[in-house]
Every structure is written in structure tokens, then in C-alpha cells.
């Protein structure tokens, strides 16, 4: 079942050319030249209920604008969006009760009061019944292990702890569509892990649909099963995450460990393998997929006694994406 459908979605921002210095500012004061930026260029896609979609792209590619149109914050310049039968910009209460948005760089908590008071306020605003509120709160507090922090003033919490509270606040009304814009930005590795695990558990427990944008590709790799890549307002890829990795992985990483130091540089050269790092007893190389078997075979036949281990890995997502934009 389709949870989200977007057809020919575009967004054009109007802004003014700002000229340099005082003279330019005075000139701007009397006459402004209007400029237009097409942030999203007629994109179409759909997302099935229960899917987790990683939405990636460079800064300014149109990710956040798309997310804000999907959630109803921004009015599309053209195109149609259907989310569970609703048109987001109408902002019908029944629609808003089914969605949520978490933004890593913006907070909806109240700075001077404990998070629990903000949860209670959202409970009233979203009309959550007492029993459901207590159940959801207990579930989320347990998943994120923040039972001891909910009564602490938000301003006394660390960034990681605050983000966990943001997540609880965003999920307290049990939404089934979750938009996340850089939810792990600025967080340490432990907090990142906790946020990702919480999202996965919530999704599995409630069959939620997730659209996640992040420059931290680990977020995408761990949470999402589908991938959508946007570049300059156009969708470059929309499909299964694994298929994309396979499609784009022209290289593999080979980690070769030796029992004693040997020189294999000529063989590597013959196979056009690029040395990534080299130590006395180990060399890591990047090599094209189709040359992996040949290199392994030659190494095994010539240096069977000297080689301790050969490990072959797919290139990581970060590298794939870097190559894609290169």
C-alpha cells in the first residue's frame, strides 16, 4: 500500500539579489532584482507503507525542501502530494496526527522546563488518550533509556540527551509517517547509535514509514532499506538500497595479510589495484570488481605460504556516493 505519492513536485523560491557593501545596499533599498531558484524540479516518487527511505543529496540539492513539502510546511509551486489520502498543505488535523518531523538543527522542546512537560503539552494538543500516552511514553523512554532524565530541565541536558527527548516528543502521538532531517547531526557515536536503534525499534513495533535525510551515511545504511538520491532538484536514484550499492560498486576493497613481509607491488600494478594503506604485514587495496578473482588467484598460486589472510569487502557507501557526485 502506498503511503506517500508525489507527482511532478516542484518548488521555486523567490529571493532578491543582494549587492555588496553600503553602496550596493542603498541601491538594493530602492531597487531590488528578483531572482528565482528552482529547489525541486518536478520530481515524482512513491513510498510504500512501512518502508524506510534514505533521502540523500548534497547541501542545497532539495532534500529539506522536499521533506517540508511532504509534511505540509511548504506549499509546492506545482505538483501533487498524496499522503494516506491527504494533501499535506491542507494541514488537516487528522493528517497532522499521523505524521511527525524531527529536525536535527531545530528544537521543539521548551528550554527551561523538563521534557516531560513538553510531552504532556503535546499529549493535549494531539489529543492522545491517557492510557496510550503512558504506554507510548514508557515504550520510548525504555528504548532510549532516558527514564532518569525526563524530569530534568532541557537546558541541563547534553545534545545527545536532548535529541532523544526530541524524538520522544515527536513520537508521543504514535505517528505512522516520520520525516527526519539530519537527526544525528552533531551527536557522538553512542548517541547516534541510540537514535538509530530507537528509530528501527519504533518502525518495527508500529509499522511506521520513515523518510530520513542525513549526511551521515551510517544513518541511512542502518535504518533504511530504500534509497532516494536527489541532485540539483532532480531524483538520480530511487530504489532498493542493496541494489544501488551493487550497481554502483565498481570497486572492492581487498585486505591482504602476510605471515612475513613480501613485495607484491608488481602484481598489484598488473591488476591496476590502488594501494589505500600499507603496513609491514598488511596491505589494503582498491580494485575493480572483475579483477578481484584474478588477483586473488595469482596471489594464492605464487605466495600461498606467505599469505595469512585475504579479506574482500564492498566499497562503503560514503565512497560510492563520493564517486557518484565526482
Amino acid at each position: 500500500m502506498k503511503a506517500i505519492t508525489a507527482e511532478g513536485l516542484s518548488k521555486i523560491y523567490k529571493y532578491y539579489k543582494k549587492e555588496e557593501g553600503i553602496k550596493g545596499s542603498i541601491k538594493n533599498f530602492f531597487k531590488r532584482e528578483a531572482l528565482y531558484k528552482e529547489a525541486v524540479k518536478g520530481i515524482s516518487f512513491s513510498v510504500d507503507a512501512g518502508d524506510s527511505v534514505g533521502f540523500i543529496g548534497l547541501n542545497g540539492a532539495g532534500k529539506t525542501t522536499t521533506l517540508k513539502m511532504l509534511s505540509g510546511i511548504l506549499k509546492p509551486t506545482s505538483g501533487k502530494i498524496d499522503i494516506c489520502g491527504y494533501s499535506p498543505f491542507d494541514k488537516k488535523n487528522d493528517f497532522l496526527k499521523r505524521i511527525t518531523m524531527v529536525m536535527g538543527n531545530k528544537s521543539q522542546l521548551w528550554w527551561d522546563i523538563p521534557a516531560i512537560d513538553a510531552f504532556a503539552l503535546n499529549k493535549e494538543i494531539f489529543g492522545v488518550e491517557d492510557i496510550q500516552y503512558n504506554q507510548t511514553l514508557n515504550e520510548l523512554v525504555e528504548i532510549l533509556d532516558v527514564g532518569h532524565l525526563v524530569n530534568t530541565q532541557v537546558r541541563r541536558l547534553s545534545l545527545g540527551e536532548r535529541m532523544k527527548m526530541e524524538l520522544i516528543l515527536a513520537l508521543i502521538h504514535l505517528p505512522d509517517i516520520i520525516f527526519l532531517d539530519e537527526p544525528t547531526i552533531g551527536l557522538d557515536v553512542i548517541s547516534q547509535y541510540n537514535i538509530r536503534e530507537a528509530l528501527k525499534k519504533y518502525r518495527d513495533n508500529h509499522n511506521a514509514t520513515i523518510i530520513l535525510t542525513s549526511h551521515n551515511l551510517d544513518d541511512i545504511e542502518i535504518v533504511c532499506d530504500k534509497l532516494m538520491i536527489i541532485d540539483d532538484g532532480n531524483i538520480m536514484y530511487d530504489g532498493q538500497f542493496d541494489s544501488f550499492v551493487q550497481l554502483q560498486s565498481v570497486n572492492k576493497i581487498m585486505r591482504i595479510k602476510f605471515k612475513k613481509g613480501i613485495d607484491i607491488s608488481d602484481i598489484l600494478k598488473d591488476h591496476q589495484a590502488e594501494i589505500i594503506s600499507s603496513m609491514e604485514d598488511e596491505v589494503n587495496v582498491k580494485i575493480e570488481n572483475e579483477k578481484v578473482i584474478s588477483l586473488s588467484g595469482q596471489l594464492m598460486s605464487q605466495y600461498l605460504g606467505e599469505i595469512k589472510d585475504i579479506n574482500i569487502e564492498n566499497a562503503n557507501l560514503q565512497e560510492i556516493i563520493r564517486n557518484l557526485y565526482a
Binding site: 542545497g60 511548504l74 496526527k97 518531523m101 531545530k106 527551561d112 504532556a120 503539552l121
Partner: protein, 263 residues
């Protein structure tokens, strides 16, 4: 539905109270400025009335009642709405309005009530008490309907002041920075909260039909002193409704223009 909204107002007040207690000095001094304004005005008009018994048909008790009505309307506005309205332009500029748009609640209600100022509570009680005292001074006999209508007109005043400041905040959707506009508008407020009859006819018309602050402050007293007829009162209700409607029109238009902020 009404209960839900009342409960939410209660929660906003609770949050404001917790916040207020966090910053003690602000909590204690919060309403002092407005209270000083009232006291200064009482002294000012008392001194003037040492030299005359009437200003444009207003006696001293009527003018002092006007001071307390202004104080009451202003303190109710400051208690519930002022802080919320002041923060709207910043929310538009930095994109914090995003979260308001995602809440299944009347957005105008949320923006209006979300930052209450508990420090104004004393001013509300003080001004209301003084209004009752001066109302008794001005009354020949108790007339329930008359008193009811008097307070209804004060309610209309609160509605007009709410719409006045909300309109100014909504301009931020077009020009982003509205501090200067709000600053100049404060001066309009200072003119509008004086006895309406002291001004020339043109200015009176402006403060009735265009920026109805004259209705907001002077009309309750003019009505109570039998200087208004039913047509004037009916017109006051219509103008207040239209003025509120205009602010709502800007609000609807503004939200469509909202572009949020980059992440």
C-alpha cells in the same frame, strides 16, 4: 473542543509559571513597568484636574477609569499574547514556525497563547479592582445590563488590541523585520488610549474606523456615561469583528507565503 483549548491554555500558564520561578528577578519585576505607567498616568491626570473639572466632556473619574481600562486591556494582552506575538517575526525568520504548522491545533490560538507572562497577573487584578471601584463611583444605581455591556465592550477592546498586534506580527511574512513598525505602532497606542473626544473629528474617525483603538479604550466609558447610543455600540462590534477578520486574512495569506529557513 473548548475544554481541550482551555486545558492547553492552562498548560501554557503552568509552563510560564515554572519558567517565571526560574528567573526570580524577572518574575518579581515582570509587571512593574506597566504598573509604573498606571501610577504615572494617575498622577498626571490628577494634576491636570486640579486646574479643570472637565476635559472635552470627560470628568476626572471617567478619565481615571479610562486609565484603568487601558491598564487592564494592556495587562490582559501582555499576560496572554504579547510575548508570543513579539516572537513571531523571529520564528518566521529562523524557521521555528515549522513546528507550529505541524501541530493539529488552531495555529493562531497556539501563536497567541503559547508564551504567557505570569508577571502581569498583579496588574490584571489591580486594574480590574480599580475598574470596579470607579464603576461604582460613576454609577447612580446598579444596572446589570449596563454593567454587562460595559464589560462586553472591554472584551471587544481586548479583541481589537489582540488583532492590532497580531496584524503587525503578520506583516513579518512580507518584510521579515517588523521591529520598527511595532515601535511606531506603540506610539499609535499612546495616542489611542487617551479620551477619544479630545481629538479633532478626523483623528477620532481614524481611531474608530481605521485603527479602532478608540473603540478599544474609550467606548466602554462613553457607553457607561450614556454618550453612545445603540447604533454606536452595534457599530463597535461590527468594526471589531472586521478588524479581527482583517488580521485573520493577513494570517492566512502570510502562512501561504511562508518559506521556512534552510537547514
Amino acid at each position: 473542543m473548548l475544554l481541550k483549548y482551555l486545558r492547553i491554555i492552562g498548560m501554557f500558564i503552568r509552563i510560564s509559571f515554572i519558567n517565571g520561578l526560574e528567573y526570580k528577578a524577572n518574575f518579581i519585576l515582570g509587571g512593574l513597568f506597566e504598573f509604573s505607567w498606571i501610577i504615572m498616568n494617575i498622577i498626571f491626570f490628577r494634576v491636570i484636574y486640579l486646574n479643570t473639572s472637565s476635559i472635552a466632556g470627560w470628568n476626572m473619574n471617567e478619565v481615571l477609569l479610562l486609565v484603568f481600562i487601558c491598564g487592564f486591556v494592556d495587562s490582559v494582552h501582555s499576560f496572554f499574547f504579547a510575548s508570543g506575538f513579539i516572537s513571531i517575526p523571529n520564528m518566521i525568520r529562523d524557521g521555528q514556525l515549522d513546528f507550529v504548522l505541524l501541530k493539529p491545533i488552531n495555529k493562531r490560538f497556539y501563536l497567541a497563547f503559547r508564551l504567557t507572562n505570569i508577571g502581569q497577573l498583579f496588574n490584571i487584578v489591580f486594574n480590574l479592582t480599580m475598574i470596579i471601584i470607579y464603576l461604582i463611583k460613576l454609577s447612580e444605581a446598579f444596572d446589570f445590563l449596563k454593567v454587562f455591556m460595559f464589560f462586553m465592550l472591554i472584551g471587544i477592546g481586548i479583541l481589537i488590541v489582540n488583532a492590532f498586534y497580531f496584524t503587525l506580527s503578520m506583516i513579518a511574512f512580507w518584510v521579515i523585520q517588523v521591529n520598527a513598525i511595532i515601535g511606531y505602532s506603540q506610539e499609535l497606542f499612546t495616542i489611542g488610549n487617551k479620551p477619544l473626544s479630545i481629538y479633532p473629528q478626523v483623528i477620532q474617525k481614524i481611531f474608530i474606523y481605521l485603527i479602532p483603538l478608540g473603540i478599544a479604550f474609550s467606548y466602554p466609558i462613553l457607553y457607561y456615561s450614556k454618550k453612545l447610543d445603540w447604533i454606536d455600540v452595534t457599530l463597535a462590534f461590527i468594526i471589531a469583528t472586521l478588524f479581527f477578520g482583517f488580521s485573520h486574512f493577513l494570517y492566512r495569506k502570510g502562512f501561504k507565503r511562508y518559506t521556512s529557513a534552510s537547514s
